[in-house]
């Protein structure tokens, strides 16, 4: 069809590569997304403490990771973390190997990048909280932690959810840059396959479709979550 040749897809070796690539992409995305959300929550909570040096540290973290290219962050993590003496001896082979694999470096750097964006998103959700809601919670005897987890975080989460959807889809697409530091995810295997087969266009079209499907599943799930968590008067609620 259209002169495209997909006969290579019948080769079980290539099928295996694609499958492994997809699984690794999903692993990397899931891991770094969860970590980013956690970092976002902790960072936003940290900012509510209004302690000068904590504010300054979080601010610095956000500025550094939000304002530099994620690819650079990943290369940086890979070449510093894996070369800065962080090596262990593999018990089975007796060889000295880097403590942090390329995958771990990618996961860490994507988590920090996504975390910085998530802090920003959650912060705006908490800052738009009417002061009266915080006062009402305090006057009902809620302490700082209970107030955050039971009242501020759930309200902020619902306000921030659309922003978070953007961050997570971006993070998902950014996992493809991990191929540069040899993480065997989908983009990496795509390169392997077209180097082997010279079917660059065909491979790219296929990989594109796979990303469209995967990211669509993610945005669909987030939209469902938004609908589920909506409450009247805020965001999508009616």
């Amino acid at each position: 069809m259209f002169g495209l040749d997909y006969s290579w897809l019948a080769d079980p070796a290539y099928q295996q590569w694609l499958l492994t690539g997809v699984v690794n992409t999903l692993k990397l995305a899931a891991l770094s997304s969860s970590a980013a959300i956690l970092i976002g929550m902790l960072g936003a909570l940290g900012l509510t403490l209004r302690i000068f040096w904590i504010d300054a540290l979080i601010e610095l973290f956000v500025e550094v990771f939000r304002n530099t290219p994620p690819l650079l962050q990943m290369l940086f993590a890979y070449f510093t973390l894996s070369s800065l003496g962080l090596r262990v001896t593999d018990p089975s082979t007796g060889l000295s190997v880097p403590l942090l694999s390329a995958f771990a470096c990618a996961a860490i750097s994507l988590s920090l990048f996504g975390g910085a964006l998530a802090i920003e998103a959650f912060r705006s959700g908490i800052e738009t909280m009417p002061r009266a809601i915080v006062d009402a919670a305090r006057s009902l005897g809620y302490g700082r932690w209970a107030r955050f987890w039971r009242i501020e975080a759930p309200i902020a989460a619902r306000i921030c959810l659309p922003g978070l959807t953007n961050i997570l889809t971006n993070l998902f697409k950014t996992t493809s840059q991990a191929s540069v530091i040899t993480v065997p995810e989908l983009m990496y295997y795509a390169g392997q396959i077209y180097n082997d087969t010279f079917r660059t266009l065909e491979v790219m079209i296929l990989v594109l479709l796979i990303y469209v499907v995967l990211v669509s599943i993610l945005t669909f799930a987030m939209a469902r979550l938004e609908a589920l968590m909506a409450f009247p008067g805020y965001g999508r609620g009616h």
Partner: protein, 248 residues
């Protein structure tokens, strides 16, 4: 008046925000079962007085006591917890937690803060909703209620803490005129049942009808304090006269 018997006692309370003095020596006593209204121009420190009474803001100087709690000595939210159990507060607006239904708003703090039994709290909450005439709105979210209905749920939520005192801070100021009536009706019932109330209000007619005493504040001081008939019909201080002249 005997200040030792008073449920609430403020003595020479001072508070500044930055360099701006907002309370310049407030003294007042409220007996158990009394309803006291605070009236005065906007910015005169009425809300700040209420916030000092339940410890939402620390005072700079002076003495604040509620029951056995010496509020001016409390520093942490943990120390405040027993006080917050005793003193409830209803604000001008955005009282309710928007992510919880009316019933859940009432039940949350008794369960999560006071650790009361859920079934018992639900029974209490439904009774209170009935009391403020909103039984049918139990499962509505605040965003689905009118301002007046929200305020009545907020009153029910305050009552669910089984407080000794409720502080009302201009709770009808942001409402449509038609819904003000229902909210005032609910408050009047509480006063008649003998609950101790301090009400900051702009509803002069209501203040006159329900309160035993009215305090007039101006620029961080209580200028005049008297039974409503006296304060409204025969104000002593020129500032009180001027204010009443503008609002009546």
């Amino acid at each position: 008046m005997n200040r030792v018997d008073a449920l609430i006692e403020l003595d020479n309370v001072r508070k500044s925000f930055g360099d701006v003095p907002v309370l310049k020596g407030i003294s007042m006593f409220v007996q158990k079962g009394e309803a006291v209204c605070i009236i005065g121009p906007s910015g005169s420190g009425k809300s700040t007085v209420l916030r000092c009474i339940n410890g939402l803001i620390p005072v700079d100087d002076g003495f604040v006591r509620v029951g056995a709690h010496r509020v001016h000595e409390m520093r942490s939210e943990k120390q405040m917890r027993a006080l917050r159990h005793q003193v409830a507060m209803v604000f001008q607006q955005y009282n309710l937690f928007p992510h919880r239904t009316a019933l859940e708003n009432i039940m949350m703090a008794p369960i999560q803060v006071l650790g009361h039994d859920r079934a018992e709290v639900e029974e209490r909450a439904r009774k209170l909703l009935k009391k403020v005439r909103l039984s049918e709105k139990a499962d509505s979210y605040p965003g689905q209620l009118s301002g007046g209905q929200q305020q009545r749920v907020a009153i029910a939520r305050a009552l669910a803490m089984q407080p000794d005192v409720i502080l009302f801070d201009e709770v009808t100021a942001a409402l449509d005129p038609e819904t003000v009536k229902d909210v005032l009706f609910a408050i009047r019932e509480l006063v008649e049942e003998g609950l101790t109330c301090i009400l900051v209000t702009h509803e002069m007619k209501f203040a006159r009808e329900v309160s035993q005493r009215v305090c007039f504040t101006d620029r961080g001081l209580i200028v005049e304090s008297a039974p409503p008939a006296e304060l409204f019909d025969n104000p002593q201080d020129p500032r009180t006269r001027e204010f009443l002249g503008q609002v009546l």
